[in-house]
Each structure stands twice: as structure tokens, then as C-alpha cells.
């Protein structure tokens, strides 16, 4: 996974609360058993004028050439709510987003971001409005800077806001770690725990209608 340390990027505002994962990637756009080929379906219901056709809807912000090349998405409260589909993060990442800055995130979506090297940074709504206002003047030039080590988002005018992240999540992102590989290094501790736990709660491990 690509490590995430710092990002200086073009940001695009989608300032709505409760942007759900059905909106981020409609189920009908998930056509294959895999993680790739999803960028075309990103925000399909809003981005295209009609279902089943790829004519861009000029009113949707991702279709505004001023924001071309955006790597940061700005949004409101409870971003990524709804379905757990990780395809939402895969689609955002494949499209080119490396960070989402929102007021808050659905917990499953936030974790899916972490496992795919995408930063989900929560800052207050007033600061997000400020970021959007700064960016609107000249989106290609007025870039937003994110410093993960310092946990800071910096607006084009220099104003800053801190975002929370657990030390564990920060380590995973900054080092671009594969969590499964990291955990497998503790497999002996896991199996030892399970041996002890099986003695305490044998019925949990009995398993199967035949037993």
C-alpha cells in the first residue's frame, strides 16, 4: 500500500451531510468480483445525466473542469454512511482521491479508508466551509495541504485545523502497511489466546450441527 505522509492537492467540495455509499458507488456499478474498474461508476447517479449512459451531468461538481485532477474530497457530516461496500473506497481511490476531509465519517467507511491507504480526516464544519471558500477562488492553484504526522489540514490561506487519528491508524497509513501481514506476525499469540479461550468457552468452538 502506498504510504501516506503529506499531500498537497486540489480539493473538490461536495458539501452535503450523509453522503451514502450507494451514492458513492451504486450497486449496479459493481459489476465484477474484484477491486478494480470502479472509478467509472463513482457517484454515477449524480455524475451522469442518465442511468446506463455516460453523458456527464454538467451540474455535478466532479464534472467541473476547474476541479480536474482533485485528490481531496470535502464533505459534510456522516460521510460514507450506509452499506459497508468497500467498493466505495476502491472507486474513490481509483478515481484519484487520496484523502477525504469531512465533518464525520461512518465507522465502517472510515476503517475501509484506512485499510486502503486513504486518509479520512474529520475537521469541524466551519473549517470545511472555509476550505471550500478558499478553493473556489481558483481550485487548481488554491491547494490544500495535509500533514499526517502533525495531524493538520492547512487551507490555502494558511489557516490550520487538527484532525484526530489513533496512533495505530497513523502508523498503518504513514508506513503503508498491510494489516494482515502485521497481524500474522502475532499468530502465535492469537493461537495461544484461542487455546485458553476454548478451555473457558468450549461451546464457542464446538461448531456444526453434527457436534
Amino acid at each position: 500500500m502506498t504510504p501516506f505522509t503529506e499531500l498537497l492537492g486540489i480539493a473538490v467540495p461536495l458539501l452535503r451531510p450523509n453522503v451514502d455509499t450507494d451514492a458513492i458507488i451504486p450497486s449496479r456499478e459493481i459489476k465484477g468480483v474484484g477491486k478494480a474498474g470502479l472509478a467509472q461508476g463513482l457517484f454515477a447517479g449524480w455524475r451522469y445525466a442518465r442511468v446506463g449512459d455516460r453523458t456527464p451531468d454538467p451540474d455535478f461538481v466532479l464534472n467541473d473542469p476547474a476541479y480536474a485532477g482533485a485528490s481531496i474530497l470535502l464533505s459534510g457530516e456522516n460521510f460514507g454512511c450506509g452499506s459497508s461496500r468497500e467498493h466505495a473506497v476502491w472507486a474513490l481511490a481509483e478515481y484519484g482521491f487520496r484523502a477525504i476531509i469531512a465533518v464525520s465519517f461512518s465507522p465502517i467507511f472510515e476503517n475501509n479508508c484506512l485499510r486502503n491507504g486513504v486518509l479520512a480526516a474529520s475537521v469541524n464544519g466551519a473549517f470545511i466551509d472555509h476550505l471550500a471558500a478558499c478553493v473556489a477562488v481558483d481550485p487548481q492553484a488554491a491547494r490544500i495541504k495535509i500533514d499526517l504526522q502533525a495531524q493538520v489540514v492547512r487551507a490555502p490561506d494558511g489557516r490550520e485545523a487538527r484532525f484526530p487519528i489513533t496512533p495505530e491508524a497513523k502508523m498503518m497509513l504513514t508506513q503503508g502497511l498491510d494489516a494482515i501481514a502485521v497481524t500474522l506476525a502475532s499468530i502465535d499469540e492469537i493461537t495461544a489466546f484461542r487455546t485458553r479461550d476454548r478451555a473457558l468457552h468450549p461451546w464457542v468452538y464446538a461448531g456444526g450441527p453434527a457436534s
Binding site: 458539501l15 452535503r16 451531510p17 450523509n18 451514502d20 450507494d22 451514492a23 451504486p26 450497486s27 449496479r28 459493481i30 459489476k31 465484477g32 468480483v33 474484484g34 477491486k35 447517479g45 442511468v51 459534510g76 457530516e77 456522516n78 454512511c81 450506509g82 452499506s83 459497508s84 461496500r85 468497500e86 464525520s104 461512518s106 465507522p107 465502517i108 476503517n111 475501509n112 485499510r115 489513533t166 496512533p167 495505530e168 491508524a169 502508523m171 494489516a179 494482515i180 497481524t183 500474522l184 502475532s186 499468530i187 499469540e189 492469537i190 489466546f193 484461542r194 479461550d197 468457552h201 468450549p202 461451546w203 464457542v204 468452538y205 464446538a206 461448531g207 456444526g208 450441527p209 457436534s211
Partner: protein, 477 residues
């Protein structure tokens, strides 16, 4: 800050958490043991395929279960082919990967097949005190049994398959106490929608909710599952209800539930799974069940909920936080005006199904309203039992005849039209009253308008041809 130090009174959640900590990680996160993993063909196949592509194997195949629910058709006589253009690829990949991994598969024609969160309790796979994950947001449903059950992404599912564990940050704790009793014709679904309307779709943000109080204890298991099911709609980590005799009685004798001496030992342990009287919670909320009416949604978020005998609220009347733009957008999408009487809204379709409301108890209550009545002209009505077992039980009781004589289609088990995956849908502009969980834009089909409601309200509305209060019709003779 969570009152979980292990000293002093602890909550049910603290007990579930502490009993599964393999070791602490940095900054308070932990490595948590995972006892049960559920997969389905939509998000599970990719987890299994990815695991195998990395050359890894399933640590404990006997603890992993997979079903076909999301993409399978629900027409009678269905097979691997689907109306969804590429659907069979998901079914075939899931079957192949499940067989290769040696995990328990409830395949398309297996009599145990059905929606994950319906069959897991039916089979006794979920039991109190276990950790259970599934790449599906409605996994919180299973917290109704006192399990620590939560929805994850596919990568987390792959992680748990490979390691038997997950790296987790401890969520905040929240207790929602519901005092009193729900009135006649008012259900757990109405309570869930009422809570959403009051607290907002971010009202449980990131928290582990414990539902408690007299009204919760009085609910049968099916209703507790309905309530916990919609915790994800509150943006919660999950929800849990302390296991009691109702939960134990439900599970006793289920195929995968403990048996004999194991069951006796398990029951003794399960009795300890409750919050201590003085346990602390990071957040608290309290509701009076008697004040809950049959509730429906009028917008495009589950928080856009109001009593069925009320009106579409003006922006200034909203009980939850929202933005003006989001509110206006929701009304325009739904084709409703502020101040409009909800009971005047004509409907085009009625749907009963989904992991929220498709269990035998839901179908019995609904059939009691439908018996001897007819769906209004022009209304398309569909009932999709949550599992093949629910379907068989309903048929044994003659409920299928009641539904069909009333004008409902009677289907095979699956998630069906809870969401549109490219196959069946209700069509643009169609107004649907639905027992499902999400009224997002285009959730049930491009430009379809969804009104979430209890199965009783769906039935009453189907008969009336408009949104209708089930208390006004009562059970037929």
C-alpha cells in the same frame, strides 16, 4: 473516555470487549479475537478471492459461514442466472471459493439459505458472548442476542479469515433506554425510525449502543433484531441487547447452538452478560415507548422520519440536525411538499422483505392485516421471506395464500429489492412503501421514491393505495 478499566461496574459491551482482547496495540487499540465470520456473495467473494490470491488460508474454517442473499434472484424457480447482468459471476465465484476454503456454504438450493442476518439466528450461529463480523453493515442486527457483532469491509473480513482476529479501536459506549411499552400497532421498526428522527442519522456516531429498558425487555427476538438492525442507520459501530430468557429460548435447539452440557455451561455464562447497575456510558439517550407512533420516512435519509398521522415537517420543525440544501433536495427527490399529510401520499408499490423485517413474526403480523383484504388497484405488492426456512414455515401456516389472495407476489428468500443491483427495480418516480432500512436516493432503483415503514404500515398502505396508519384497519375477522 470509556468506563472500561476493568475496575468497578462494567457495561455489557465492556465485558464482551475485555473477554476478546488478545493483546493491546498502541494507543488503546486492541487485537480482538473473532469467533464467527459471515460472508455473502456480494462482498464476501472478493474477500475470499483476495485471501487466496495472497497465498493465505482461512485460519478456522469451522467458524466461517457463507450464504447467497444479495444478488440471487427471488423469482420462483430461480437458478445461478440472474436478472442482474453480471450476477452469476458473483454466485459462481462465491461457491468456488467457499468450497476451496472448506467453509460452511448455504448455497442457492440449500434449505437453510436466506439473508445472513435472518439465518444466522435461525441456525444458532450467533449466540450471546461471541464476536461476529460480516462484510455487511447490517451485521449489527445480531447484537440483539448479546453478541459483539458488527459490519466491516471486505479487507477486514479477509483479515479475520486469515488471522482469526481484527485490529480495532474501542468505540465509545452509548445507552439508549426505552421506558414504557409500545402501543398497539406500533412496532420495533417504528421505534427505530422514531429514534432516527430524534437523534439524526449520525446520532449514534461511532458508538456501541446498548438498548435497554422495559420496552426492550418486552420485545420478542424478531423485534429486537429489527431494532438493532437499524443501528447502522444511526452511524453506530453496532448495537447490543443483554441476553435474557427470551434470547436463550429462541436459540435452544437451533442446529449450531450449544447442546447438552455445553448449553448448560453457556447459559450460566450468558447470565453474566449484562451491564452492572452503575456501569458508565459515554453517552445516554432516553425514550418513552408510549410516545412512539407508527412512523414513516418522507425524505432520502432514515432520519427523515415522522408519525404516519402527521405531515411532512417544515425545515424549522425538524427534530434532527440537517442542512437546508439536504432537506430541500430530499423533498424535491421525493416529490413532497412541506405540510403535506403523509397519509395522503398515493403509492405505486409495496415491499415486505429485507434483514430488517422479513422474519416469520413479521409475516404473521402482516398476514393478520391482509387476511380477507385486497391490495389497491394499480399497486404492485411483493413479499420476500427472509429465509427459505421462513418461507417454508409461512407456507405451512398458510400465510403464502393470504399474501397471494391479497395480491402480493410471493417470492424465494433473499435481499431482493431492498436495493437495486442492476436487475429488478421499481422504476423512476415510483413511490414505494417498504419494510426495508434505507430510503437513499435511487436505493431501490434509479429515481425510485422509498418510504420506510413497518410491515404493518406497508400492508395497510398496500390496501389503501396510499400511506396508511395500520391502527385504522385492525386485524380482519
Amino acid at each position: 473516555m470509556t468506563a472500561a478499566s476493568g475496575v468497578g461496574p462494567t457495561s455489557l459491551f465492556d465485558k464482551l470487549w475485555a473477554s476478546h482482547v488478545i493483546k493491546p496495540l498502541q494507543g488503546g487499540d486492541v487485537l480482538l479475537n473473532i469467533d464467527r465470520i459471515w460472508l455473502h456473495e456480494r462482498t464476501g467473494a472478493v474477500a475470499l478471492k483476495s485471501l487466496m490470491a495472497a497465498g493465505r488460508s482461512v485460519l478456522a474454517p469451522q467458524q466461517v459461514f457463507v450464504t447467497m442473499d444479495h444478488i440471487v434472484d427471488t423469482f420462483p424457480g430461480r437458478g445461478d442466472a440472474t436478472l442482474m447482468p453480471t450476477g452469476s459471476a458473483f454466485i459462481l465465484a462465491t461457491r468456488e471459493a467457499a468450497l476451496a476454503a472448506g467453509i460452511t456454504l448455504f448455497d442457492l438450493n440449500d434449505p437453510r439459505q436466506g439473508i445472513t442476518h435472518v439465518i444466522s439466528p435461525e441456525l444458532g450461529v450467533v449466540i450471546p458472548g461471541v464476536t461476529l463480523i460480516c462484510p455487511d453493515s447490517h451485521t449489527c442486527t445480531q447484537g440483539a442476542f448479546g453478541a459483539l457483532a458488527w459490519g466491516v469491509g471486505s479487507t477486514e473480513a479477509e483479515h479475520a479469515l486469515a488471522t482469526g482476529a481484527l485490529r480495532v479501536a474501542k468505540p465509545a459506549s452509548m445507552r439508549i433506554t426505552v421506558d414504557g411499552r409500545l402501543g398497539p400497532g406500533v412496532t420495533a421498526k417504528d421505534l427505530a425510525l422514531h429514534i432516527l428522527g430524534e437523534l439524526s442519522a449520525a446520532g449514534g456516531a461511532g458508538a456501541m449502543i446498548e438498548y435497554a429498558g422495559e420496552a426492550i425487555s418486552a420485545l420478542p427476538m424478531e423485534a429486537r433484531m429489527t431494532l438493532c438492525n437499524m443501528a447502522t442507520e444511526l452511524a453506530a459501530f453496532s448495537a447490543v441487547i443483554a441476553p435474557d430468557a427470551v434470547a436463550v429460548d429462541y436459540l435452544r435447539g437451533r442446529p449450531f447452538a450449544p447442546k447438552g452440557d455445553d448449553m448448560e455451561r453457556a447459559e450460566a455464562y450468558w447470565r453474566t452478560l449484562r451491564s452492572d447497575d452503575d456501569a458508565g456510558f459515554d453517552r445516554q439517550a432516553q425514550f418513552d415507548a408510549a410516545r412512539v407512533a407508527p412512523t414513516v420516512t418522507w425524505g432520502t435519509s432514515p432520519q427523515h422520519a415522522s408519525p404516519i398521522d402527521g405531515r411532512v415537517p417544515a425545515f424549522e420543525q425538524l427534530t434532527h440536525k440537517d442542512t437546508r440544501e439536504s432537506y430541500d433536495r430530499a423533498l424535491a427527490y421525493m416529490g413532497v411538499e412541506p405540510g403535506a399529510r403523509l397519509a395522503d401520499l398515493r403509492i405505486d408499490a409495496a415491499f415486505i422483505g429485507s434483514c430488517t423485517n422479513s422474519r416469520i413474526d413479521d409475516l404473521r403480523r402482516t398476514a393478520a392485516l391482509l387476511r380477507g383484504r385486497k391490495v389497491a388497484d394499480g399497486v404492485r405488492a411483493i413479499c420476500v421471506p427472509g429465509s427459505s426456512a421462513v418461507k417454508r414455515q409461512a407456507e405451512a401456516e398458510g400465510l403464502d395464500v393470504v399474501f397471494q389472495e391479497a395480491g402480493f407476489e410471493w417470492r424465494e428468500a433473499g435481499c431482493s429489492m431492498c436495493f437495486f443491483a442492476g436487475g429488478e427495480s421499481f422504476g423512476p418516480g415510483q413511490r414505494v412503501v417498504t419494510s426495508t432500512n434505507r430510503n437513499f436516493e435511487s436505493r431501490q432503483g434509479p429515481r425510485t421514491r422509498s418510504h420506510l415503514a413497518s410491515p404493518e404500515t406497508v400492508a395497510a398502505s398496500a390496501i389503501a393505495g396510499r400511506l396508511a396508519d395500520p391502527r385504522t384497519i385492525g386485524a380482519a375477522q
